[in-house]
């Protein structure tokens, strides 16, 4: 069902955990399947220096979360803003059609974190 890459990320997820000194936190939940995700980012010089996640969800949700953190780490905010769920799914070598929405979770949490970061900067 899942690609090897999905299973690899599910088994050895990168960047799991919390960042106590996060610059912003993103949160999102899928009402449909109950999955929820929390994303912590640390930004330095407009670059995402560190990133961590916590996810409650299925294999696809956990793997997408892990994949996203890998994709985002070291990117500028501008670059990160361009990442969408399709990119995450593609990086994972595809997801089963009915699991595609699980990769939304990760992309949405990122956008939420970035929005929160901006708000904080502006205030």
């Amino acid at each position: 069902m899942y690609s090897e890459k999905v299973m690899e990320h599910f088994n050895n997820p990168r960047n799991v955990g919390e960042l106590n000194d996060a610059d912003a936190i993103g949160e999102t939940g899928s009402f449909k399947c109950g999955d929820t995700m929390k994303l912590y980012i640390k930004v330095k010089d407009d670059r995402i220096e560190d990133i961590k996640f916590q996810t409650y969800g299925c294999g696809a949700a956990i793997a997408s979360s892990s994949m996203l953190t890998e994709m985002v780490k070291g990117k500028t905010i501008e670059e990160a803003l361009k990442i969408n769920n399709q990119d995450v799914a593609n990086e994972l070598g595809g997801l089963p059609p009915m699991k595609l929405h699980c990769s939304n979770l990760a992309a949405d949490a990122l956008q939420d974190a970035l929005a929160n970061y901006r708000l904080k900067q502006q205030s």
Binding site: Y2, M7, F10, N11, P13, V16, E18, E27, K32, C33, G34, D35, T36, M37, K38, F53, Q54, T55, Y56, G57, C58, G59, A61, I62, M98, H101
Partner: protein
């Protein structure tokens, strides 16, 4: 990498037992005649089919003429419900429960579209139906009550004896989907006063794709399929001979060992429930006592069922999340919702279903692998940290 393979998904399907397989074997390439054929070769096969019918009947206290072979539990349920509905001159009323298998539930939804009225009875938090509620739901034109003998997801046994008595008292037909019970627990169609009973061979170590419908003498349906005159025209088409032979044998074997197997499996079940509960924040779904011998359905709080399954899978442990049939769906199962589980708890449910071939070592292996799996997934979970 995996030190062991542990199949704990007997609620989804079971292996054909070697002695059953050996018994079926000649009917593929040697005794391959069509039982409807006039010649000696066909007549020999006919005899074997009727022998299997006798075995099947004997296992549930029925007469051989009351057994109709079908392609499985789904077909048996469809024939019983739609067949009685089709027999009526005008739409009527059906009573069922909200935790039936989809092969009953979805037929009922379809009957509603065709003008029938259906009462879907609620269940208590253990998944039990109240016989009194059945009685109260009966209306003037109630023509059938369909209540499963045991639920496939949470394993709760239903008071079908009481419900059968009520059906008889009010002169309403009674159907029970006994797919999860036949071969696992003693069951007699007379004791429960069933007019129709569905069973499926692959749930009791028989082959897939074959089942039976018990239909009490005198009961009448308008069959769904038309064609040859096989199975009293209830289910036309060339008989699945090896399947029928396998069903009969598997049921005979299962019933002969029922009490022995029951106590063995129950012991394993309780050991597994106890061990998993000890992990903390693990709730047992279904009834603590009135449950299928092999059913263990637990919710691991703060983590999601599919992740748990995948993790067990990697250790060679095969279980399921809800029923295999609804695995395509994102919604938590209708059964877990019906017993009142919140979304998150429902999503964390995993079913281990034990059966023939499972050992104490299997249970110990699961209990050895479970703690790190649960711990790892919880460590990733935001809801666990926020608890």
């Amino acid at each position: 990498m995996q030190s062991r393979l542990v199949y704990m998904d007997h609620g989804a399907t079971t292996p054909v037992r070697p002695e059953v397989y050996d018994y079926m074997k000649p009917y593929f390439s040697e005794l391959y005649g069509n039982p409807s054929s006039l010649h000696a070769f066909g007549r020999k096969v006919r005899q074997a089919v009727e022998e299997a019918r006798k075995k099947t009947a004997a296992a549930i206290g029925a007469n051989p003429e009351e057994i109709y072979f079908t392609a499985g539990g789904t077909e048996s349920n469809n024939i019983a419900l739609r067949g009685t509905a089709r027999k009526r001159a005008k739409p009527g009323h059906v009573i069922t429960s909200s935790i039936e298998h989809h092969a009953v539930l979805d037929v009922c939804h379809d009957l509603e579209k065709e003008g029938h009225r259906v009462t879907f009875l609620p269940v208590d938090r253990y998944g039990r139906i109240d016989p009194d509620a059945v009685k109260k739901a009966i209306e003037k034109d109630t023509f059938i009550i369909s209540i499963m003998a045991a639920n496939n997801e949470i394993g709760t046994l239903q008071p079908i004896r009481e419900i059968g008595a009520i059906a008889r008292e009010y002169g309403v037909l009674f159907h029970t989907d006994a797919v999860q019970v036949v071969g696992q627990l003693p069951l007699d169609v007379n004791t429960i006063n069933a007019d129709f009973l569905s069973l499926s061979a692959h749930k009791f170590n028989g082959p897939k794709g074959i089942g039976a419908l018990f239909m009490k003498k005198g009961a009448k349906i308008d069959p769904l399929y038309r064609g040859g005159s096989q199975e009293g025209k209830i289910r036309p088409g060339t008989e699945n001979v090896p399947g029928i032979i396998g069903l009969g044998k598997a049921l005979e074997v299962a019933v002969s060992e029922i009490s022995e197997k029951k106590s063995k499996i129950e012991t394993l079940r309780d050991r597994l429930i106890e061990g998993l509960s000890a992990l903390g924040d693990v709730v047992l779904n279904g009834h603590p006592v009135e449950r299928l011998p092999g059913n263990v359905n637990v919710s691991f709080k703060y983590i999601e069922g599919e992740s748990v399954l995948l993790s067990f899978d990697m250790e060679g442990i095969f279980a399921s999340s809800g029923s295999a049939c609804s695995s395509g769906s994102l919604e938590p199962s209708h059964v877990l919702s019906a017993i009142g589980l919140d979304h998150a708890t429902a999503h964390g449910s995993v079913r281990f279903s034990l059966g023939f071939g499972n050992s104490e070592e299997d249970v110990d292996y699961v209990l050895e692998k479970a703690p790190p799996i649960v711990e790892r997934l919880r460590s990733m979970s935001p809801t666990y940290h926020a608890r």
